[in-house]
């Protein structure tokens, strides 16, 4: 069949001649025509960027806005002598060193043939001054654009994130044609998680330009599709209350509406002002934030992974009930320590003298470690880890805030994989009281508490309630994603919730100081060890640096009968959960539910 190969060669030659004919037509016969077209390629297609969607809180308060601004931009690739150009521009429109430093930094990160801003927020006079002389500066232009502003500033910085200029790395991840003309992109938080909805789609206009590139008229255009507005569950008033409640402490508060999974407030302190980030923060200011020991850029609410301490006891207790390892009526004797069979090591209870005989309810109320050591030991790490996973521990919740971390529920498999060591039974005990390698984010604690308040309906937490096309009355509610947590007998919920109610409402509760007559609260205090105490030593707060103090934790929901808010609070190095974190939660719940002033009580609570 060699003939066929020859035939194929003939076909190839024929096709190629066709191509050559076409090329000769283009490049010889029509050369003049195309040369003219090329010389004054008058018709340009310009992208028209969509307007970014706005962000509103639950009551319609604007949290992210766009305001028009003029900036002076240099397309570095089109400028022959960059230093001279900058020099000349500087005499015409004076700026300061910060502008220049920012320009240098953005220039390094730029996308080729994209303008880099030299000056922002030009006044109308400055725009006019430049326009008169613009012919002297090829490659330099004034751009009118909408700049993102965050009216609430630091208050919503972590949860909303912020937008910033698209850098070369982000350029590889986006649909470049859809972002033609768009200069900003969500860099974190809700702005990043909902980037697609907020951005919209690019439009085009075909314009006729003169030899210098000035637009003479628009020939045709296709309007952009504006980004959708977001309506949040977040309530700016509650956010403010949570922010105030934390005071000057480092820490985080997450409040969730158990009925919807909607995040009502999410605060991480200290915070930062997102507004300077939009147009490019100066290197010095950025470094000051980045290297501050208080880590203001770090979103503790979704990225802070802390040992949950005793706040996991209600969940561990439920695990015991659900698996049949414990019976709520049966007691366990606490002598102040727990020993594994055949071992001498004493796993201590926080109360050295012991709690005596305690059943589940008192074990939760008094936070008896021995009861939960015993429970965890008998349940085993596999079952415990599996049940805690149902409540969202050990994995990202999938909230629509970018950058979330998943915490960790340690397991045999995890330890063998990461530390190449076998699992020791003692580690199971430590997981049972929320210490050791066990880590959870404040968001995870709040979501788990909301699921408990719901008696087992775990709803994936979310910040955005709905999308709205600007100008349209229609509101697109986003669906909730939920799964049930099975505990066998529904009475198990009552038993644990009753215990948590005693923590606040009972006479011996560790958080009784936050009692209010306005509504009933169910909660659990916790203390996360930052510094481990040796077998024979005792913890003496006065002798340790503040950085070594325990983290104070508190989870709660209210009203007990019809929960409308679930809260998780962590105060870094705050000490006891009942003393420091619980009052923060109470203030947040008051703001939501309306309550009397915090009852002034003498410090009577003992334990964590």
């Amino acid at each position: 069949m060699a003939v066929r190969a020859s035939l194929a060669a003939a076909v190839v030659l024929l096709a190629m001649s066709l191509l050559v004919v076409r090329l000769v037509r283009l490049q010889v016969h029509q050369h003049e025509h195309y040369s003219v077209l090329s010389r004054d390629n008058r018709v340009k297609v310009q992208p028209v960027p969509p307007t970014r969607g706005l962000i509103y809180d639950a009551r319609g308060i604007l949290l992210a806005d766009n305001h028009p601004s003029f900036s002076l931009e240099i397309t570095v690739e089109k400028v022959e002598d960059l230093p001279a150009t900058i020099e000349a521009l500087s005499t015409m429109i004076p700026g300061d060193g910060k502008d220049l430093a920012r320009f240098e930094r953005l220039k390094r990160q730029r996308v080729r043939f994209e303008g880099v801003p030299l000056r922002s927020n030009l006044t109308p006079e400055e725009v006019a001054r430049f326009s008169v002389d613009s012919y002297r500066f090829p490659g330099v232009g004034v751009r009118a654009e909408l700049i993102r502003t965050y009216p609430k500033g630091v208050l919503t910085a972590h949860v909303l994130g912020y937008v910033g200029r698209i850098n070369a790395e982000e350029m590889t991840r986006i649909d470049v044609s859809d972002y033609a003309g768009t200069h900003f992109i969500g860099k974190g938080g809700v702005e990043k998680a909902h980037e697609d909805a907020l951005h919209g789609h690019v439009g085009y206009q075909q314009v006729e330009v003169n030899a210098r590139g000035r637009v003479l008229r628009t020939l045709e255009s296709k309007a952009p599709v504006p980004g959708r507005d977001l309506h949040l569950f977040l309530d700016a008033g509650l956010q403010q209350a949570a922010n105030d409640a934390l005071g000057d402490n480092r820490g985080a508060v997450v409040a969730i509406d158990p009925r919807t999974g909607g995040v009502l407030a999410m605060v991480s302190k200290p915070g930062f002002d997102p507004n300077p980030f939009v147009e490019g923060i100066t290197q010095a200011d950025y470094h000051a934030l980045l290297y501050s020991p208080d880590k203001p850029l770090f979103d503790r609410a979704v990225r802070g992974q802390y040992p949950p301490g005793s706040t996991v006891k209600p969940f561990v207790g439920l695990a015991g009930l659900a698996s049949g390892v414990v019976d709520a009526r049966k007691t366990k004797y606490c002598p102040g320590f727990f020993q594994l069979p055949g071992q001498s090591h004493r796993y201590r209870c926080w109360r050295r003298g012991g709690h005596g005989s305690v059943a589940l309810e008192q074990a939760v109320v008094q936070s008896c470690d021995v009861y939960f050591y015993d429970l965890a030991y008998r349940m085993g790490i596999e079952r415990l880890q599996g049940f805690l996973g149902e409540f969202g521990f050990g994995a990202r919740t999938g909230i629509d805030v970018a950058g979330e971390l998943g915490g960790l529920v340690p397991s045999r498999e995890w330890k063998e994989r990461t530390r190449k060591q076998p699992w020791y039974p003692g580690e199971t005990l430590i997981v049972g009281i929320g210490q050791g390698a066990f880590l959870a984010t404040p968001l995870q604690l709040a979501a788990a508490t909301a699921a408990l308040a719901n008696r087992g309906r775990f709803i994936q937490p979310r910040v955005v309630r709905a999308y709205q096309v600007p100008g349209s009355p229609e509101i697109e509610e986003l669906p909730a994603r939920a799964h049930p947590v099975e505990v066998g007998d529904p009475h198990h919920w009552d038993q644990v919730i009753r215990a948590m109610t005693e923590v606040v409402e009972g006479a011996r509760g560790t958080a009784k100081r936050i009692q209010t007559s306005a509504y009933r609260i169910a909660g659990k205090t916790g203390t996360a060890q930052v510094f481990s105490v040796g077998q024979k030593e005792s913890y003496n707060a006065a002798r340790l640096n503040k950085e070594m103090h325990d983290h104070a934790l508190f989870i709660a929901f209210a009203p007990v009968e019809d929960p409308r808010i679930a809260v998780a609070v962590i105060v870094e190095n705050g000490g006891h959960g009942g003393a420091v974190a619980a009052p923060v939660a109470r203030q947040v719940m008051d703001a939501r539910l309306g309550g009397g002033s915090l009852l002034a009580r003498e410090e009577t609570a003992d334990g964590d």
């Binding site: 190969a5 020859s6 024929l14 090329l23 195309y34 040369s35 045709e220």
Partner: protein, 378 residues
């Protein structure tokens, strides 16, 4: 019009004068030299098209290096072994296409990538080689010309991966895979009566195809028929690339001096539309030189097919050469406005990694078929 390819009797002394190193490495000197010149030319054009970005050139150079490695490795494999590999390679390729549809990553609105954890790749690339291998395997199992049943079998083996790829959707690659199967059938001696029947059938099926197309694919066909109808969208590509090529004239505006290309009027100028940069900067002379290089490689591939010692080698080498030709023709046709815009790169010149490796691997197969010929005699 018929062309006589130089068919040598087996065992001629043509290899005597060739370098011993090339012989030992099982490399075909004409192909090797042609490919090296083509890649060098491509890098020079890329340097200009990427606005003199050495980083892009370096990355492309690394890809080409890897691709040459693949070619050399495949050239070592005896055609008899290639033949026995054909069914498993084909089966694996189709399985991966199914996996892509089920679990693949979505990039730019199409689902083409498979993430293996350590790397991502496009399984559809494998099919560009696996389909001609499989069809050659099927047809070469019995004396040629093939029976009607075998032709139908070959058609089915081509259509399955083609439809899977078209569904991703990746029209460009689907066309290349279909071309590979068709080329293998043609070289394998498909009867003229059937060729005529298929041509008539295809003409009848064209309206059906129109309804099966996605919106953006239809848009491309419409735009092709009348570029001015959509000057903002895909018509923009065609208009601007024709301005670039046409304004280049006989000898072009000079390397690095294309105004269309550098003033951002030309989209995709370093990938699918890189030929427009050649046309603008190096003129008709530059494009013709490039086309001569391509023609030389295709011609050499067909000579290898004509001289192949068995039907499998002949069909495979012929089909691979013709696929290479389809690559060249579809891309150049698209850039010059002869054909609608389909995402097919200019082989070994366009910036981008996936197709380079497959193309060079194809040349590796041809070299294997050519250089293991003598050994078969003994």
């Amino acid at each position: 019009m018929a062309i006589r390819l130089p068919v040598r009797s087996l065992g001629s002394d043509q290899n005597e004068t060739e370098s011993r190193l090339l012989t030992r490495l099982h490399l075909d000197a004409p192909l090797m030299i042609g490919l090296l010149i083509l890649c060098g030319f491509g890098l020079l054009v890329l340097y200009s098209a990427s606005n003199q970005d050495l980083g892009s050139v370096r990355r492309q150079l690394v890809r080409l290096g890897i691709a040459f490695g693949f070619m050399i490795a495949l050239a070592q494999v005896h055609p008899a072994r290639l033949r026995s590999w054909s069914p498993p390679v084909y089966g694996l390729g189709v399985l991966m296409l199914v996996a892509v549809l089920l679990f693949g990553d979505v990039g730019k609105g199409a689902q083409r990538w498979l993430d293996l954890g350590f790397m991502r790749f496009q399984p559809s690339e494998i099919l560009k080689l696996a389909v001609p291998m499989m069809v050659a395997w099927l047809l070469a199992a019995r004396p040629l010309p093939p029976s009607l049943l075998r032709v139908l079998g070959a058609a089915v083996l081509t259509l399955i991966p083609m439809l899977l790829i078209a569904k991703q959707p990746d029209l460009g690659t689907a066309i290349l895979v279909a071309a590979a199967g068709a080329a293998a059938l043609f070289i394998g001696g498909l009867s003229w009566r059937l060729i005529l029947a298929i041509a008539v059938g295809a003409a009848a099926a064209a309206p059906m195809l129109w309804y099966g197309m996605r919106d953006y694919q239809r848009q491309r066909v419409l735009t092709f028929l009348d570029p001015e109808s959509d000057p903002l969208g895909s018509g923009y590509h065609i208009i601007q690339s024709q301005i670039a090529i046409g304004s280049g004239g006989l000898f072009g505006k000079g390397w690095l001096n294309g105004t269309q290309s550098h003033l951002e009027f030309l989209p995709e100028r370093h990938t699918d539309f890189i030929l427009a940069v050649v046309g603008e900067e190096l003129g008709l002379a530059g494009i013709l030189a490039l086309l001569m290089l391509y023609l030389f490689l295709i011609y050499r591939g067909l000579v290898i097919a004509a001289n192949a010692s068995d039907a499998y080698g002949r069909i495979l080498a012929g089909a691979l050469s013709l696929v290479f030709f389809v690559y060249v023709f579809v891309n150049t046709g698209m850039v010059t406005g002869l054909l609608p815009v389909v995402g097919v790169p200019l082989p070994l010149v366009s910036y981008g990694g996936t197709s380079v490796v497959t193309l060079m691997a194809g040349f590796g197969l041809m070299m294997s078929i050519q250089t293991h010929r003598k050994a078969l005699q003994f």
